[in-house]
C-alpha cells in the first residue's frame, strides 16, 4: 500500500517537473511593451514607450504603431535601439531609418537587425484632453510573420503643465496664470495685459521677505513698493506649502499632483493674496481671483545674487 503511494508520488513529481521545464517557443517573432513615462499624461507633454521585438532566425523588417488619437507634431519612433551599459547608462544604437508619422500611424523601417527595442514618443495633442488614448503596436519580420501588442487605455489629464518659468525682480515679474507666462511691465502695457496679471514677483533682502509673490490687489503695506500695472486688480488666493512633491514640476520624487487633487482642493477666502520667503522646495496652491483656475506653483530654484526665481506650474481650469 505504502509502495503504491510512493509510486503515485513519484509519477506526479515527474509530471510537475516535465510541465515546469517546458521550453518556451523561441522560434517565432516576439514583442513586448512598457510605458516608460510615469505620472499624469498632460497635453503637449510626451508619453514614451519602449517597444521590444525579436526573431531568432531572420530579420526584422518594420515596426508600426497606431494611436487611437493622432499625436501632436514630433510624435514618432526613435531610430535607435537601446541597451544599458555596466554603469547603468542607456546607450543608443541606430537600427532604423525612415521613422515617419502620418496621422494616427507611425512606423520605422529596420536597417539590419533581428532584435531591437525602439522608443516611441507620443506628444499628447489638445484634442486628447480628458479623453483616453490607446496604442496598437505591431512588428513585421522578413519571413512574413507579424505580431502585435495592444496597450491599455491611458487617461489624458485636464490640467496643464508649464515648467521652468524664470521670474526676475523688476523685469519679467508679472505672472499670468491664464497664459502660464511671465511678462515685463512693458509687455503688460503694450499688450493690454493688466487684467490678466495674477501675481507679481519681487525679491527683498529683508529677513523673512526674500523671494515673494504678491497679487496686484494686495494691500500696499505688503507690496514693498512693487509697481502694479494700471488696471491690474486681481486678487489671487495663495496657500504656501512645503510638503507637496511633484516629479513633473521638478521634485526628485515619483509623486505627482493629479486632476483629482485640484478637484478636491479648497483654497478659500481664509487665504491671503500674497506669500513671502519662497525657496526650493516650497510651493503654493493658487486660486485665481476670477475663479477660473486652480494651480500649484513650485519653486525650482532661487538666485539671491541675480534676484531671480525659477518656478514650474500645474494649472487646472475650473469648469
Amino acid at each position: 500500500m505504502q509502495r503504491r503511494y510512493i509510486n503515485w508520488f513519484l509519477l506526479l513529481s515527474f509530471l510537475v517537473i516535465a510541465i515546469s521545464c517546458k521550453k518556451e517557443d523561441l522560434t517565432t517573432l516576439k514583442n513586448d511593451l512598457i510605458k516608460k513615462t510615469i505620472g499624469p499624461n498632460i497635453v503637449n507633454n510626451t508619453i514614451e514607450f519602449a517597444y521590444a521585438m525579436a526573431i531568432p532566425e531572420g530579420k526584422l523588417v518594420s515596426a508600426e504603431v497606431e494611436a487611437s488619437i493622432p499625436g501632436a507634431p514630433n510624435t514618432r519612433f526613435g531610430p535607435s535601439s537601446w541597451y544599458t551599459d555596466k554603469g547603468g547608462n542607456d546607450i543608443p544604437v541606430t537600427v532604423a531609418t525612415d521613422c515617419l508619422t502620418d496621422g494616427k500611424n507611425s512606423n520605422a523601417v529596420f536597417i539590419d537587425t533581428c532584435a531591437a527595442t525602439l522608443r516611441y514618443y507620443y506628444v499628447i495633442p489638445e484634442e486628447a484632453r480628458e479623453k483616453n488614448v490607446s496604442f496598437q503596436f505591431s512588428c513585421k519580420a522578413d519571413n512574413g510573420e507579424i505580431v502585435s501588442f495592444s496597450s491599455p487605455e491611458y487617461k489624458i489629464s485636464k490640467m496643464d503643465l508649464q515648467p521652468n518659468i524664470t521670474l526676475t525682480n523688476g523685469g519679467a515679474c508679472y505672472l499670468s496664470i491664464k497664459q502660464m507666462k511671465v511678462f515685463t511691465m512693458a509687455d503688460v502695457l503694450a499688450n493690454n495685459l493688466a487684467g490678466e496679471i495674477d501675481l507679481i514677483y519681487f525679491y527683498s533682502t529683508i529677513a523673512g521677505i526674500g523671494h515673494s509673490l504678491v497679487s496686484p490687489a494686495t494691500l500696499p503695506d505688503y507690496l514693498y513698493g512693487v509697481p502694479v500695472p494700471v488696471g491690474s486688480t486681481n486678487s489671487t488666493k495663495v496657500s504656501k506649502r512645503r510638503d507637496i512633491r511633484d516629479g513633473q514640476l521638478g521634485s526628485p520624487y515619483s509623486q505627482f499632483i493629479d486632476d483629482l487633487d485640484f478637484e478636491t482642493l479648497i483654497v478659500d477666502n481664509n487665504e491671503e493674496n500674497f506669500v513671502y520667503a519662497m525657496a526650493n522646495p516650497f510651493g503654493a496652491f493658487l486660486f485665481t481671483g476670477d475663479g477660473k483656475y486652480k494651480a500649484f506653483i513650485f519653486v525650482n530654484s532661487v538666485d539671491n545674487t541675480n534676484k531671480k526665481m525659477v518656478v514650474s506650474i500645474k494649472r487646472y481650469a475650473v469648469n
Binding site: 529677513a207 523673512g208 505688503y222 496657500s239 504656501k240 506649502r241 513671502y276
Partner: protein
C-alpha cells in the same frame, strides 16, 4: 516552581494595577496627577513652519488658574489658518483640542485653551495673546 508562580502572580498584579485607572470620554487615562500647566506653545502655518518669532512666553505666575501665552508672529502671517500645538504636564489634556486649523485673526478677543490635570480636577485656562511683528 514556586518562584515561577510568585513571578506570575506579581506580573498579573502589575497588569491589573496598570489597568485600574478609569478612562475619560476620549479614552485617555484619568490618573492621580494634579498638575495642570503648559510648558510650550507653537503656531504652524500651512507650510508646517513655525510663525512665532523666538519662543512663546508662557506666564504661570499671575494666577494659579489663569495663564497667558504671549507670542509674536512674523509680519505677513495669515492669522486665519494656523495650527496650534503645545506641551503639557504629564497626563494633562487640553481643551479645545489643538492640532487643527484655527482662526487667530481676532486679536482683540484672544482664544483660550484650558489645561486639565491628569486627575481631571485641576484646570488652568490660558489666553493666547498674539502680536504681529512690525513691518520689517
Amino acid at each position: 516552581m514556586k518562584n515561577y508562580i510568585k513571578i506570575a502572580i506579581a506580573l498579573l498584579a502589575m497588569v491589573a494595577g496598570a489597568c485600574s485607572y478609569p478612562l475619560d470620554e476620549n479614552e485617555l487615562l484619568i490618573t492621580t496627577r494634579a498638575e495642570s500647566y503648559m510648558t510650550m506653545f507653537d503656531l504652524l502655518d500651512e507650510a508646517h513652519a513655525t510663525v512665532i518669532m523666538g519662543l512663546a512666553a508662557i506666564d504661570t505666575i499671575t494666577d494659579p488658574n489663569i495663564g497667558i501665552v504671549a507670542a509674536t508672529v512674523k509680519y505677513g502671517t495669515n492669522l486665519k489658518v494656523l495650527k496650534p500645538y503645545c506641551s503639557l504636564a504629564q497626563d494633562a489634556v487640553v481643551t479645545p483640542k489643538m492640532g487643527a486649523w484655527t482662526d487667530f485673526s481676532d486679536l482683540l478677543n484672544p482664544l483660550t485653551y484650558t489645561v486639565i490635570s491628569g486627575n481631571r480636577e485641576v484646570k488652568k485656562t490660558y489666553k493666547i495673546v498674539i502680536t504681529v511683528q512690525l513691518k520689517p
